[in-house]
């Protein structure tokens, strides 16, 4: 009788198992390394330039910057024109996108599974994937050429509002789906009219979710540069006229990057922009973690 040889693979299998775990941990840590590098670099290089005048003065022109540079002084001025421009453009975009986004989100929620609303949802998803530079191109054709006859804050806002719209629609729909059906049924049973159910039940009970979606979409558009290059162009002065070219913080960073005399300003501006965006991000996560309905 021949003896059956049973080979013991368990050692090799355990080794493989451990090697793989090592690789997973290694690559996971490698993934978050860039964020440490980026934040570290921006803080180290940018924090020194951030002072009161950074927020209250407009960006220097290239000659001022060059003079200061040759004299070994810090570059004068700040990014006030960018900050005011960003506020103007983003607020206007939010005003255009938020009401429509929430209403369409409610529509999709109320018409689950219907053919037409599925089409709307699919198109919303397609809109969300459209590259921002293409949005810039389209809004150039729509607004810059036909409405404001030139680069304008309004054009920038339209391009950013089209970016916001799908995000708000989908976050509204997803949030509403988490509300217990019974809440709505109770209101219906009491004979509450439909618009009051929306205004008094759906929106209040999903408020934190809606707010999260809004904050995330705002933090997404705050850092956008490409569509603004094609729509608002930039402005060396503070401008509140929505029909005129207007600056924004990301546009200023792009200008500083392209002007060898002002390179040192990119770090503080980027630190400011990223700090703002990430803070909004973290706030919105906090809100959703605190109030999410399960």
């Amino acid at each position: 009788m021949k003896a059956t040889v049973i080979r013991d693979h368990s050692k090799a299998r355990n080794t493989k198992n451990k090697v793989f775990l090592g690789a997973v941990i290694f690559f996971s840590l490698l993934t978050i390394l860039p964020i440490a590098f980026i934040i570290g670099e921006l803080v180290i290089k940018g924090i020194g330039q951030i002072n009161l005048s950074f927020f209250t003065q407009i960006a220097p022109d290239t000659l001022e910057a060059m003079t200061a540079k040759t004299n070994g002084e810090t570059i004068p001025g700040g990014i006030a024109n960018g900050i005011t421009g960003s506020i103007l453009i983003v607020l206007l975009a939010a005003v255009m996108a938020i009401p429509f986004g929430i209403i369409i989100g409610i529509y999709l929620y109320e018409n689950q599974g219907k053919r037409y609303s599925n089409v709307i949802r699919d198109i919303t998803d397609v809109l969300q994937g459209v590259p921002s530079i293409v949005l810039g191109l389209i809004v150039y054709l729509w607004v810059v050429k036909n409405i404001t006859n030139g680069y304008s804050a309004l054009a920038g806002s339209v391009s950013l509002s089209i970016m916001m719209l799908p995000l708000i629609i989908r976050s509204t729909e997803e949030t509403l789906k988490m509300i217990p059906e019974t809440l709505k049924e109770a209101a219906v049973a009491l004979g509450v009219p439909y618009h009051k159910i929306i205004l008094r039940v759906l929106i209040p009970s999903s408020f934190s979710g809606l707010l999260t979606g809004i904050l995330i979409s705002i933090s997404r558009i705050l850092g956008e540069t490409a569509p603004l290059m094609l729509t608002t162009l930039g402005n060396p002065q503070i401008n509140w006229d929505i029909t005129q070219p207007t600056s924004a913080v990301p546009l200023l960073i792009w200008d500083f990057y392209n002007d060898p005399n002002m390179v040192s300003l990119i770090w503080s501006s980027s630190l400011f922009l990223m700090g703002f965006v990430l803070t909004l991000n973290i706030i919105s996560k906090r809100i959703s973690a605190k109030h999410s309905i399960h």
Partner: protein
């Protein structure tokens, strides 16, 4: 009409806005691109010549299509091991632990960094590093852009994969463990087969992101209007040629840039639709 009907009517009317916006976008892009396609025909897509000199104006989109595809594919390839490891870390190995939630929120932060900041970091940190390794003289090119794009799309690839991996039924995994399978064997024989299509979909959507990224690539690819010849070659992408050359564009050149925008729009829409289609089939 009673108030309920009016409310329903308002909701429905608002939904038309999506159709108007999407239809208007397609219409404007097509109308703007017509002069370029009229003038060059299909040659526009296959030509590698980009010459704005008056009199011999010739615009071909192939270098930019090639640049977009090579940077995005490279970014996808680089991001796969990172995103896959991170998903396993968060959704399997250290599931529901504090370290996993810290890691996943760090990865989420990556999605919040503006594209232009990635571009600056790539320009001032990554590019000199690549030069110091002797990989390329200036540090610009497909490779540098690909790395930055990979970092940018990792959060998109992981967030969906995490969910899908978490959804694999525990009973299946427990059955495999009870047969004596190791963690690695469970991952490759239970988790991956069950989560495969969802993971693929998340990478497709991340790839779609890479296709349209503009600022970071514009700052790192070298802006050479030619078909890239290798990993360290310079080039240009569809998004970055629009960003770079739009300012001085008019006439046929403007139309050509719009035509490139239309192509980019169509490609990203198809890629995103493919990703969403797979996800919809899952649920």
């Amino acid at each position: 009409m009673n108030s309920d009907k009016i409310t329903k009517y308002i909701l429905f009317t608002a939904s038309l806005l999506i159709l108007v916006v999407a239809g208007g976008m397609a219409f404007s892009l097509i109308r703007g691109a017509i002069p370029a396609f009229d003038h060059f025909g299909w040659h526009f897509i296959t030509s590698t010549d980009w010459d704005p000199t008056e009199g011999r104006e010739n615009y071909g989109a192939l270098p930019f299509i090639a640049g977009t595809m090579s940077t995005s594919v490279l970014a996808l390839l680089i991001s796969i091991p990172m995103a896959f490891s991170t998903s396993l870390f968060v959704a399997e190995y250290f599931r529901k632990t504090r370290v996993a939630s810290v890691l996943s929120s760090m990865v989420d932060l990556l999605a919040g960094i503006p594209s232009i900041v990635y571009g600056l970091w790539g320009f001032y940190t990554l590019r000199p590093f690549i030069v110091s390794l002797g990989l390329s003289a200036q540090g610009y090119g497909i490779f540098t852009s690909g790395i930055i794009l990979a970092i940018m799309i990792i959060p998109y690839a992981t967030s969906l994969s995490n969910e899908i991996i978490t959804m694999v039924p525990n009973e299946l995994k427990e059955a495999a463990y009870s047969l004596g399978a190791t963690r690695l064997e469970v991952i490759f024989n239970v988790i991956i087969p069950n989560a495969r299509s969802g993971i693929v979909a998340s990478y497709i959507l991340a790839f779609g992101r890479a296709l349209g990224e503009t600022m970071a690539v514009t700052m790192l690819i070298g802006n050479a209007n030619k078909v890239p010849t290798g990993l360290f070659s310079t080039g240009n992408t569809m998004a970055s040629v629009i960003a770079n050359q739009f300012g001085e564009a008019a006439g046929l050149k403007l139309s050509s840039l719009i035509a490139i925008g239309l192509l980019l729009f169509v490609i990203t829409a198809l890629v995103n639709a493919a990703g969403k289609f797979i996800i919809r089939k899952l649920s």
